[in-house]
């Protein structure tokens, strides 16, 4: 078979300048989350196929890279003639399903509540597009076994700080944290007159609001069989008919006694997070925020950079998923940063590791290939001396086309060049 030079479709080779920027941003994120007491953990990048296809992952389950069985087990499955039987593992499509397995498996060794930081690649066999990759890095923080809203408040405060630190490199100092609660979403739809079995569909449509506007949402709801009255009542709640200044105000018109507590909780989260975050962070109740993942059970969040019109992080409370693994419910709440999007924003703004003042450039000592052994040794020892002083130094053979050599070294982060010609 022929060799193939390009990486697999939708996957990327990262060159030194790419990695330098990625490492800077990862460091921003790790330091910030570390300061909030999140402990880094790691799970294997491959998971049991039955865990990945447990209906927790929504549409992502259709995008799994599946891994073939091996040896005799593969042969048996092949002989049995069933395609599904050939597979035992898959590459993870997010960090949440593996975290739920991890917690169920290691609960006794972990504090309660437990604050986890996960950074690592996930895989989705999606159609590649600008900014959409088949292997990409996710940065997730999760609080497990904390039923109090300290979890939400610290998640929002920590994620805001991490985002501002990273985005500040591009001069972006304004972000909005949209906050809602899944139970409010459901109550609003029921109140408007949607039947219980139609609520999930209505939410999928409402989720498109920022793309298709109120008119588009209205049209799609009607198309899907909702009554004029229900649609009008529903959209009225978010528009002129409703009060969206706070969760409590919004819920006061909904006939659901249990909702007052849900709303008060959400407003406390919003008020606390507002007080604890920097001036550029707006924490806002947004009754139209849906978040796609079906596993959310309470508060949900999404972060947007309004000046760019993009979403950059999201999360929420999912109190029922860990129980799917352990048989015992464990409440949980998480926030996931779209790492590749941040990198794209920084690159678009011309940010590189070289523009970071704390990053010192490397020294290249270029040695004439005709230099005698003693001269080379001097260069090598000089390099060791510079390294002991904290510099990054490479001793390299000098090329005939030294101008090109230096230019390409500069692209990789070298800023000083010493030339050793043969005596």
């Amino acid at each position: 078979m022929a060799f193939t030079k390009k990486p697999i479709k939708g996957m990327t080779d990262f060159l030194p300048a790419d990695m330098a920027l990625r490492n800077l941003v990862l460091d921003d994120i790790k330091r910030t989350y570390g300061s909030f007491g999140f402990s880094q953990i790691e799970t294997p990048m491959m998971e049991h196929i039955e865990n990945l296809t447990s209906k927790q992952g929504g549409d992502n389950e259709k995008l799994i890279f599946k891994v073939l069985k091996r040896g005799a087990a593969l042969q048996r499955a092949w002989d049995a003639g069933e395609l599904d039987g050939l597979v035992d593992n898959g590459l993870r499509y997010d960090l949440t399903v593996p975290l739920a397995r991890f917690y169920a498996n290691n609960k006794d060794a972990l504090p309660s509540p437990f604050r986890a930081l996960q950074i690592g690649p996930v895989w989705r066999a999606d159609q590649p597009a600008k900014g959409r990759f088949r292997q990409f890095v996710q940065c997730d923080i999760d609080v497990l076994d904390d039923a109090t809203n300290l979890a939400e408040i610290e998640l929002i405060t920590a994620t805001s700080a991490a985002l501002l630190r990273a985005l500040g490199r591009a001069g972006i100092e304004q972000i909005t944290i949209h906050v809602n609660d899944r139970r409010i979403l459901v109550a609003a739809a029921l109140q408007a007159g949607f039947a219980e079995e139609d609520v999930a569909g209505a939410l999928i449509t409402l989720d498109k609001l920022d793309k298709i506007g109120f008119e588009g949402v209205s049209a799609e709801l009607l198309e899907n069989g909702a009554s004029e009255a229900a649609v009008q009542a529903y959209l009225g709640l978010f528009g002129e008919g409703g009060d969206t200044t706070s969760a409590t105000a919004f819920c006061s018109v909904l006939n659901d006694a249990d909702l007052a507590e849900v709303a008060a909780n959400l407003d406390q989260i919003i008020d606390s997070a507002t007080a604890l975050t920097a001036d550029g962070v707006q924490v806002a109740f947004d009754p139209t925020l849906v978040r796609g993942m079906g596993y959310y059970t309470g508060p949900i969040f999404e972060v947007t950079i309004d000046q760019l019109g993009i979403s950059i992080a999201g999360g929420g409370r999912y109190d029922k998923m860990v129980g799917k693994f352990s048989g015992e419910d464990v409440c949980a709440c998480g926030f996931s940063i779209g790492f590749e999007r941040i990198i794209a924003v920084l690159r678009d703004a011309g940010v590189s590791a070289a523009s970071d003042e704390t990053v010192q450039g490397g020294v290249a000592i270029l040695v004439d290939p005709k230099a005698a052994g003693e001269q080379r040794m001097e260069a090598l020892q000089h390099a060791q001396q510079l390294r002991s002083e904290g510099r990054q130094v490479a001793v390299l053979p000098m090329r005939k086309n030294m101008k090109h050599q230096i230019a390409s070294l500069e692209a990789g982060g070298f800023t000083e060049f010493e030339k050793l010609y043969s005596d």
Copy 2:
């Protein structure tokens, strides 16, 4: 299907204390290699199956986790009824094959020579055993397009420094770098009387010397059909009959005119590396060093911790592999650290991140769940203050069994505890 709590066989969940130690050691390695001007790069963790099965990977090619095609392509392959046709990708089993593809793909954007650092997981469907995992991290440095022995000298100097830095955490300050050259190995076998087609087999047997001794090697060579005379002549070279004090001395008895230059080069590498490395590093010519991978073409190295009797890193020059991808030969030379072995050595020695004096423990503020909103807010603000002073702080609900809570937080790296009882 049932959920499965345990990770996939041979793969590992890393808890906070595990990750803290891994990150410390990764940092040792990154800093050291950075100081030698190696630039971090990354390739996708999945590779084209044709690249992974190109006969460059030796026995590792039998251990590939293969990834199923998707969608219509999968259906077509299934209909065609051939098992091999179902697969288009695989998980990488090392970092060298992907590096060769990376370099062939990105050559024009990289300096010449190019010094690459790669750190990342690889997968092998091997039988799991103590210290042998199915997903494990490799740390590789490689110098591409450098035909001079500056490459070997700096690879050895850098790797020694990285290893001493990491192993020093366990008080290990003595390592041996065994150095040989593939061409000397071949010449010695030919000189002893092995036929050209039997040399590879003889090397496979010689490679077992440290496990089965001279007697075992002798027996296996005879069993494989070598003559008494050849075996005696061969083993004589390494024993009393030969001079192994330097490559030049060893090669002086071999009838191969080209070998003088090979030996002089190797001795220069050994002498230079000896001068440049710390006192605890012994750089030694070892004519019995083989290294398994068939792709090596020149000098080869292996690092042992003699007090533990284990090998911890290995590498060599492989001038023909990149050409397999690009059609154009590019000389290359690399060194790979057995990261998981280092971790095992440190753990066996009782080393943890908590024993590192530069790592400051975290602060847990435990808040009585009955505390009023104002009190909680004070705790949250106090946490922000401590964070601004560089501390790692988590605000957590206090558990009834606070003793257990504190013990498990301590296991995760928290050292200070503040308790906020409700007024």
